[in-house]
């Protein structure tokens, strides 16, 4: 039995909890006062609004990558089935030709095989195109990831500034009105929005190519 261990942890825990609770309370108060003093409360409200958007953007990435993987695997399965069929037919026709070349042609085995190959290559070509098109998630998710990274970088940068300004080594009695340096720039949303992650219920965006075509047609294009 170790004598160095706390003799009665159940008694020490409430004190520790109270201390931690008090410290968190002080930090929260200090953060609140600092944000107010620096005029950052509006910025914090803006972050609070953007974080759910970031969450839905990340969900959009998960959905798109999942759908792309599913699409690729389905098309690979289909292409492999066509490929296996052609491989098996090639072996079968080969054996027939070796056995009796004239009969293989005369009975239509060779022509049937040629039609099979033609049909399978059409299907495989379509599968390959689908696999290629599935890679468009890279572009769409890349744009969304870039937006989330920008939001994270903005929050990190501003929190860092806050930390620098409120660090104990800095003069504590900095005037509140001069404590808003040029680095606290609220970045406007870029003019271009990138992929729309939640088009439903947003009248300002189109939900598909048919709506684009309708809109352009209404403008006479």
């Amino acid at each position: 039995m170790s004598t160095g261990a706390p003799s009665n942890p159940a008694v020490a825990t409430p004190d520790l909890s109270q201390d931690v609770h008090q410290r968190i309370g002080m930090l929260t108060r200090q953060l609140h006062d600092s944000l107010q003093g620096l005029g950052l409360t509006e910025q914090v409200k803006s972050w609070a609004g953007e974080i759910p958007d970031a969450k839905s953007r990340l969900s959009y990435i998960a959905r798109l990558t999942g759908e792309a993987a599913e699409k690729v695997l389905n098309n690979v399965d289909q292409a492999k089935a066509h490929h296996d069929h052609i491989a098996a037919e090639t072996r079968r026709i080969g054996a027939l030709i070796v056995k009796d070349p004239v009969a293989a042609v005369a009975k239509g085995h060779v022509m049937n095989f040629i039609h099979d190959v033609e049909d399978a290559t059409k299907h495989i070509d379509k599968n390959l195109t689908n696999i290629m098109m599935a890679q468009d998630f890279h572009d769409l998710t890349g744009q969304v990831i870039s937006k989330v990274v920008n939001l994270t970088a903005s929050i990190e940068s501003q929190l860092l500034q806050l930390l620098i300004i409120t660090a104990p080594s800095e003069p504590v009695n900095k005037p509140a009105d001069s404590a808003k340096p040029a680095t606290f720039v609220v970045h406007d949303h870029p003019v271009l929005q990138g992929p729309v992650v939640n088009p439903e219920g947003n009248p300002d965006v189109v939900k598909g190519q048919s709506e684009v075509d309708d809109l352009l047609a209404s403008l006479g294009f």
Partner: protein
Amino acid sequence: MANDLKFLVVDDFSTMRRIVRNLLKEIGYAEADEAEDGVVALHKLRNSTFHFVVSDINMPNMNGFQLLNEIKKDEKLKHLPVLMVTAEARKEDIVMAAQQGAAGYIVKPFTKATLEDKVNLILTKLGLK
């Protein structure tokens, strides 16, 4: 004639450039070059002969709207059809593209059939097909 047309595919994502080039090849237009943004595209357009531009909008350095504007301001290039292929789905962006002289607008993700339809429609309108 139409199959000899040379396309310029402008997109900052190399994956998308490859997809569009491959699709163009599949629909009968094998001649294509690529540019990763508007600046590179404009340089290529001014130093080589192209018949059709397929451009993204959201790109660094010079975006698709700026590229479209530069093309339409340039006496030697303004005849070029520019098809926007983009994730920008806001109606105001679509209207702006049309007003600036875009020949067509496709929203991503798109299908091979959509690209084929729009390219052929534009070429037919211009009498190139």
